[in-house]
């Protein structure tokens, strides 16, 4: 993206709440959360070649931890947020240690199983999670005394967090560590032979990905002020994975585009079209047929071809 295009994009994002109605501002906030969440999964799927079907675990864990600390211990947001992040990251460390014993389909299944265990726990351990009733009565934080209850305030908050998070993750990808990670995806034997600890590279990525997933989880629970076991479900994990792949795994822009498409179809188009599930499926099929690597790489390839001719 050229510098000019970047400036225009930033201006549009900053000005949007001034022109959009409440509904569209809130829709944009949800897109930011989904985009951050998808970007965190992309570290594993796109750059590490590790397809996880359990990423919803991090949204759910962070959201439940933060909600529980607030409701049961009455802690303030500036304490609950770091505790939720630490707790989620620690569990990501443990899960990564178990899951990375496998690769390929085995990795997909073990991440699915681990997240399903959390999902079951959220349903069954009602003393902590309030089971199927979910945890309600939550609030949004007020950083520096600024209330986030209004749509525009929350919009700027989630936009800022998402930009910082994506920038941090992009930095990792473009660092020597990122090169090692891509190497572990493409040439894991050679990387080992060259003296890299492939397992450690993958594990650190898993943990880092879990951490940013947890950040998305905090935004999620702040936005909804409610958390229910469905946030941990297989459907949630599948949805974010599909967004990453549809947009283009292994690119920075891809997961953002993909997550936005899924969210817009689910929350916006469904108001006009009863058969939005079918449309969602059809969109995925069409993407695969015309852009097998996802939208962003597909468009890049097309525009490169156009330039040549």
């Amino acid at each position: 993206m050229s510098a000019a295009a970047r400036i225009v994009l930033v201006l549009v994002l900053v000005a949007f709440p001034l022109i959009g109605g409440d509904f569209y501002i809130n829709l944009a906030s949800q897109i930011f959360i989904a985009a951050l969440f998808a970007t965190s999964l992309n570290l594993l799927v796109g750059y590490g070649g590790l397809v996880s079907l359990g990423h919803a675990a991090w949204i759910g864990l962070a959201a439940y931890t933060s909600a529980w600390l607030y409701l049961h211990l009455g802690l303030r947001h500036w304490i609950t947020a770091p505790l939720a992040l630490v707790n989620t990251t620690l569990i990501a460390g443990l899960f990564g240690w178990i899951a990375l014993r496998a690769t390929g389909l085995g990795f997909l299944m073990i991440t699915l199983a681990l997240s399903q265990v959390l999902w079951g726990t959220a349903y069954r351990w009602a003393a902590v999670t309030n089971g199927d009733n979910g945890l309600s009565g939550l609030t949004r934080p007020a950083p520096f005394g600024i209330s986030l209850d209004g749509p525009a305030a929350f919009y700027y908050f989630s936009l800022t967090v998402t930009i910082v998070a994506v920038w941090m993750m992009a930095r990792l990808v473009n660092s020597p560590f990122g090169a090692a990670l891509r190497g572990s995806r493409d040439e894991s034997r050679r990387m080992s032979a060259l003296g890299h600890n492939v397992w450690l590279v993958r594990w650190l990525t898993f943990v880092y990905s879990g951490f940013w997933g947890a950040v998305a989880g905090l935004l999620f629970v702040y936005y909804h002020k409610y958390i229910h076991p469905t946030a941990l479900s297989l459907t949630s994990s599948a949805e974010v994975l599909l967004g990453v792949i549809a947009g283009g795994a292994g690119t920075i822009a891809g997961p953002i585009v993909g997550a936005a498409i899924v969210l817009i179809l689910k929350n916006y188009v469904s108001a006009y079209l009863d058969r939005w599930n079918m449309l969602l499926g059809a969109v995925f099929v069409v993407i695969v047929i015309f852009m097998p690597d996802g939208i962003v790489p597909g468009i890049r390839r097309w525009s490169a071809r156009l330039r040549k001719t």
Partner: protein
């Protein structure tokens, strides 16, 4: 005592059902390395097609055959038109197979509505078999029998036929199979159709137990994956043993450890993958 006998029978019957569900998935993955995530949707589609077929042909086995053929046709089209362009593109396969699942699920909701629809067992099998003070549904025993027959038939297919020899060659070494003249393209379509047919027919045969209802696809897909991962992908024996292991764990686990009902199927899988990533009978890493 009665509890143990009935639950053991339950485990066997459920194991049979799981085998019918999972073996097609295993077959496709073993040869083509495609994680066919439409498998749950094909199973459900089979059940619903069975519902409609039974209105015209009042015979469950015939309905299962017809549903199997129709679902195989659908699977073949899917393989020919889309999946074969995606060889080696695992992410694209995930996207397209789940996308097709969404379409199939929504299609079923439009055509058959949102209410559960029963599928009747053959009249002669509707009454339970009673021995002493133990009653057990006759149909479930038949399902177990069908699963065993299917397993034997697939085993013979693999070991005794030309098609089986080609499949085995492909599973072991695709390059080599191609080099010695195995028509890989046709073989892939055949195997994909066979896997889809097993799912579709399985949906009908499971019908008198499960019924056809929206959400059947999402309930079944994880089960198929668990069985296959536990047993080892691409291994017929693995799918067979995996089915019964899972059924036993589920049946007794839910009864004896009700607090673990939600995780009872996933905990053993975590342990198996963590210590034996290839599954119990897997020949090579997934």
């Amino acid at each position: 005592m009665q509890f143990w006998i009935v639950q053991s029978l339950n485990s066997l019957a459920l194991g049979g059902l799981l085998f019918l569900l999972a073996t097609g998935f295993s077959l496709i993955f073993g040869l083509m390395r495609i994680a066919n995530l439409t498998h749950g949707a094909l199973f459900m589609l089979g059940a619903y097609v069975g519902v409609t077929t039974l209105k015209f042909v009042p015979n469950l086995w015939l309905a299962a055959l017809i549903a199997g053929l129709l679902v195989a046709l659908f699977g073949g089209l899917l393989e020919r038109s889309i999946l074969r362009r995606l060889a080696g593109n695992a992410l694209g396969q995930v996207l397209v197979t789940l996308g097709v699942s969404f379409i199939v699920a929504d299609f079923c909701l439009i055509v058959w509505g949102g209410d559960p629809i029963p599928i009747a067992a053959p009249t002669s099998l509707q009454r339970p078999i009673v021995v002493g003070n133990i009653a057990f549904p006759a149909y479930r025993l038949v399902v177990l029998g069908i699963a065993i027959i299917t397993a034997i038939a697939l085993h013979l297919l693999m070991e005794r036929t030309r098609l089986g020899a080609m499949i085995r060659a492909g599973v072991d070494d695709m390059q080599m199979a191609r080099a010695v003249g195995v028509p890989v393209s046709r073989l892939f379509t055949t195997v994909f159709c066979l896997g889809a047919a097993l799912a579709g027919a399985g949906g009908v045969i499971a019908g008198p137990i499960m019924s056809a209802y929206p959400g059947l696809d999402a309930d079944m897909l994880p089960l198929a994956l668990i069985v296959v991962i536990l047993g080892g992908v691409g291994s017929l024996l693995g799918a067979f043993v995996g089915s019964f292991v899972i059924a036993i764990i589920y049946t007794f686990g839910s009864a004896l450890l009700p607090d673990l009902a939600y995780v009872i199927l996933f905990l053993p899988m975590i342990v198996v993958i963590a210590f034996r990533p290839r599954g119990l009978f897997g020949r090579r890493s997934t």
